[in-house]
Amino acid sequence: MSKPALPKSRLARVAKGKRPQYFSDPATDKLLSMTLTLMEELSVTRERLDSLERLLASKQVLAQAELESWAPSAEAALERAAARTAYVERMMRAMHAELEEITRRGTPASDIDPLDAVGS
């Protein structure tokens, strides 16, 4: 299986400017961010499943019972693992955003490089 090619130019995913803190514990802010992403991804998944099941039914390809007893091939399992990795990456964006904020050049917090801070 070939690895999907990375796009030539990576666009930014985090906006410049301090993110407000909404709750007394910043962990709550992150949890809520993640929950909404999770909500989004569940909606995406349901729609994809719905598309698929409608297509299969309309083409009379599949009965519901067949779906329940199916297992992925080795190749399919690898593809699904890559998709899950990307999914987790999106779910963890709130954490990456914080890291990006504290490591970005030109912001006061960027004086501390988290890698240097722990020593070699």
Partner: protein, 379 residues
């Protein structure tokens, strides 16, 4: 969601990307339509009474409202979700844009080449133009990289992302070509000055030229110019206008000081741009409008109302505190007429107007029963 016209400069989302964009619209419709009114309710039933019990008086201004509201658990949760929905919105557009960027750049170049050959719209960039601080200090509306960041050579990504982003932001209510803001100001001109036939029009802070195109369509005999400080949105604006078959002349310039001749235009416009500038830039921009307008020419700036009661003023400023509209909260206290006078206009020729347009397009609920603020002046 209302239709959004297809053109050559749009990325095609995958099935899942489309589902993400659809979800963002559903989420935002709920947050804005169903939960946001709740913020007014908690103010009335919980925050204001509690403030009164503690202080023996009501909050005096929107800053006091803000201090009290940001401690309210309902407001906190709604506000945090509204913020996250804006981030999800951009992410849902950035993914398909990033994947198809090389093709979109090629398409933009080919559209620019054919415009060049046929003598239609033009694009003039000025890489030496400094970005004003109010533009570059934070990414406006949380769009990662803002209007100006170039991620690669001949980049158009900021424009591609912005176009679909504002379509999602308003759940499609900006119209099939994100034309609502242009339509409102055009409706105002036709309502107040029905016989005015502009020959040369300048659209300030035009970004992707969505409003510039509205004016070029409305007055096909007029020359339409659009300026902005950000190159990637202008490249996109040019390609988009050409893809739509509408000639517009775009150039990279700062509205505080342009290189247009004195009296070059008979109509100068901006569409919800002034609240993204700064205290010092605002009178300079209005002064520049005065300079480039010919005698008898019109200046029209569309602005967002800032609210009447203190809770409305606070809620209208949500975007300022939570969506990187740094200057917009200061607009609450600014006298636009006084700013226009600083710019050289004469008192009797300046009007700060309210306008609730009656537009033909059925889905434009946002424009109905909503009083827009318009700064109008005659040179």
């Amino acid at each position: 969601m209302p239709a959004f016209n297809r053109h050559a400069m749009q990325p095609v989302p995958s099935l899942d990307e489309q589902a993400r964009q659809d979800f963002v619209c559903s989420l935002r419709a709920h947050l804005s339509g169903r939960l946001m009114p709740g913020a007014y309710k908690v103010y009335e039933h919980r925050v204001e009474p509690s403030f009164r019990a503690t202080n023996g008086r009501n909050p005096q201004d929107h800053d006091e409202v803000r201090k009290a509201m940001t401690l309210d658990p309902f407001y906190q949760f709604w506000s945090a979700m509204q913020r996250r929905s804006q981030e999800l919105l951009w992410e849902s557009v950035i993914d398909p844009t990033e994947r198809q960027l090389p093709d979109l750049i090629e398409t933009s170049k080919s559209l620019a080449r054919s415009a060049n050959q046929s003598g239609r719209g033009t694009l003039r960039l000025d890489p030496a133009l400094p970005l004003p601080r109010y533009h570059a200090a934070v990414d406006i509306h949380l769009q990662p990289g803002g209007y100006h960041t170039e991620f690669t050579e001949d980049d158009v990504a900021a424009g591609v992302v912005y176009d679909k982003g504002i379509n999602l932001y308003m759940g499609g209510a900006l119209g099939a070509e994100n034309n609502l803001m242009g339509d409102i100001l055009l409706a105002y001109l036709r309502d107040k000055h029905p016989d005015f036939r502009p020959k040369k029009i300048l659209d300030l802070g035009c970004a992707i030229g969505n409003s510039s195109v509205v004016w070029a369509r409305a007055f096909p005999d007029a020359e339409v110019y659009g300026i902005d400080v950000a190159a990637p949105v202008l490249r996109y604006a040019h390609a988009r206008a050409e893809a739509l078959g509408v000639p517009v002349h775009f150039s990279q310039q700062n509205a505080e000081k342009t290189n247009f001749d004195e009296g070059a235009f008979d109509l100068v416009l901006s569409h919800i741009v002034l609240h993204e500038t700064s205290k010092s830039a605002l009178p300079r921009i209005l002064g520049e409008c005065h300079r480039v307008l010919q005698k008898g020419g019109l200046m029209l700036h569309l602005e967002i109302p800032r609210g009447k009661s203190i809770i409305e003023k606070f809620m209208h400023n949500w975007e300022s505190y939570n969506n990187n509209e740094t200057f917009s909260r200061f607009m609450t206290g600014i006298d636009l007429k006084a700013e226009a006078l600083k710019g050289g206009f004469v008192d009797r020729d300046v009007l700060v107007d309210e306008f609730a347009p009656k537009l033909d397009v059925a889905q434009m609920n946002y424009a109905e029963n909503f009083f827009w603020k318009i700064l109008a002046a005659r040179r």
